[in-house]
Symmetry: C2
Subunit: 330 residues, 2 copies
């Protein structure tokens, strides 16, 4: 590899409700150095910005670089983002941040151009440029974790929508008058297929007296919550309740995939996120046939690829780096 | 109005399973002459092309013009269209046309450049350029008739998707495992809110002995089918069964609107089609509050306009004319 100019380095930041992850990324999408710390959103906006700036400086040091070598930073944030103005409109997972000018605050703290975007939008962009969607101009990303988020790449570009609100695929109602969702609506796919929904249904089964190894696995690991790891272990061991509940979640995800394909007609649907990562590639196998069954265009249905994400925990960070480069070159 | 050059005239054709409607349209979107005849798709492809060509010639004559004054024609077709290649991939309502090179056949018959697109896509384009969506760069059109179709305008352009299949909003599943749809899937909004679905539910009520003025209205007009006109009359007269069934259809349409807004984030949603036309502007009133309730971004929800279509029966014809002009100028 030849000598790199400073324009080739950017920092991607994955800002979540729990942790801040920052990484220096070169022009080829390689992470040269990274750092991580807790978000602690209860400390307020200024404290979070300070922790973000500190994490960026550490990542830069870990890459053996100086802040002056960095052409731009880009952070994702969980919530509604006005990317053009660099403002977090509303982020419930960050202790209800409202109209926080995150872009400006980061640029002021680091003296480096700073951009922001929604976390799942950037995850989708990362998969598009560096992951499972390389070379595919039209795709949808679906990320299944505590909630369900997504992003759209149309004509090779991130589609943010009119107000930066596009890609909220988890709040597609697929079962009208179904279970209440975290958003207040009913029957959203997030209320049927997220880890939160799976957890709810597994506990309901256990409380009703159905046998399951989940309580034993949680005791063994001294865990308080039904993590994706516990879920994966119970699934791998063939726990009937866990398999049934996850099977239903996969059915609803298949319907979500079909809805998105019928509306948008993309070439590819990428499925990632904590649940998908933990359960492995087999997780998407039962989703495919349901999706294909519900496509309106059943001829050539399987030409639309339904594939697992490739970048794992780094999707948003790498997507942020890609986005920073795109913003710089515009 | 000044003298017009021949480039200002195009012909839009609305090809449906029942009728062919052709109109000469000037640069301002004014229809200068039109003609109409039955499609008779049972006669085969060649016979339909001949009938289309004849209808175009009549429309041109009605506008006091010659075919040599026409810069291009554009026809819609009901079904899956490969607009780039000018091919109707599959059209169940045209006696199962499959891979019919409609564009080439029309161009050969008329010796004029010919383009084709999907009917509801063109209806949406017509509303965008000449109807309810003028000046709005991002919108979704929903057309409720025998079925439910739609189209997307993104960044001021018709979004056809990867293979021309985008906008099949009627086949968004909103009630998993709900009633069987014409497409073979279950729980599509078309199986819950189209005229076909409304008709099914009204007959079910009548057969179970519920009172309704529908049978009387049909006898009076000597009608065989529950047309949109009968529906509108029964609705206006306060028929309880009809109001209840249409109320449920409106609920599901509200959920469809919310799904589309949550996924795509458009500025406007336009609702048209035979049912909407017949029931009048009041039809969309109950749809709005349901849609706004199900938006994930409830702040500023009402900034997203939900409005009735303006072009009525001429939406597809005018959209075809607009599309022809766009194709010529590319």
């Amino acid at each position: 590899m030849g000598k790199q100019t400073k324009d080739q380095y950017v920092v991607g930041i994955d800002l979540g409700g729990t942790k801040i992850l920052a990484g220096v990324v070169d022009a080829r999408g390689k992470i040269l150095g990274q750092a991580k710390r807790a978000t602690k959103p209860d400390g307020g906006v200024d404290a979070v910005i300070e922790r973000m700036a500190k994490t960026v400086r550490e990542a830069v040091a870990a890459a053996d670089l100086e802040l002056s070598d960095i052409a731009a930073v880009c952070s994702c944030a969980p919530g509604t983002i006005d990317a053009e103005r660099g403002v977090v409109r509303f982020a419930p997972n960050l202790h209800n941040w409202e109209n926080v000018p995150l872009g400006k605050l980061l640029a002021d703290a680091l003296k480096v151009p700073a951009f922001i975007e929604n976390d799942v939008n950037l995850g989708t962009l990362g998969e598009h440029v560096l992951g499972a969607g390389q070379g595919v101009r039209n795709l949808v990303g679906i990320f299944v974790g505590t909630g369900i988020g997504g992003g759209l790449i149309l004509n090779g570009k991130l589609w943010g929508g009119w107000r930066g609100g596009a890609g909220e695929v988890g709040h597609t109602v697929v079962l009208a008058e179904g279970p209440v969702c975290g958003c207040g609506s009913r029957g959203c796919v997030e209320a049927l297929a997220s880890r939160t929904a799976i957890e709810r249904d597994i506990w309901a089964g256990i409380k009703a007296g159905r046998p399951s190894i989940v309580p034993e696995l949680m005791r063994k690991d001294d865990r308080q919550r039904l993590t994706s790891g516990v879920l994966a272990e119970a699934y791998d061991k063939g726990d009937a309740l866990v398999r049934e509940v996850i099977g239903r979640a996969q059915f609803y995800l298949g319907i979500l995939v079909a809805n998105l394909v019928n509306i948008i007609d993309p070439e590819m649907v990428i499925i990632g996120g904590g649940v998908a990562e933990a359960l492995g590639k087999a997780y998407i196998e039962p989703i495919r046939p349901v999706a294909y069954q519900y496509f309106i265009n059943k001829r050539g249905a399987e030409d639309v690829a339904i594939v697992p994400a490739k970048l794992g925990d780094h999707a948003a960070l790498l997507g942020a780096a890609v986005y920073a480069r795109q913003c710089l070159s515009e």
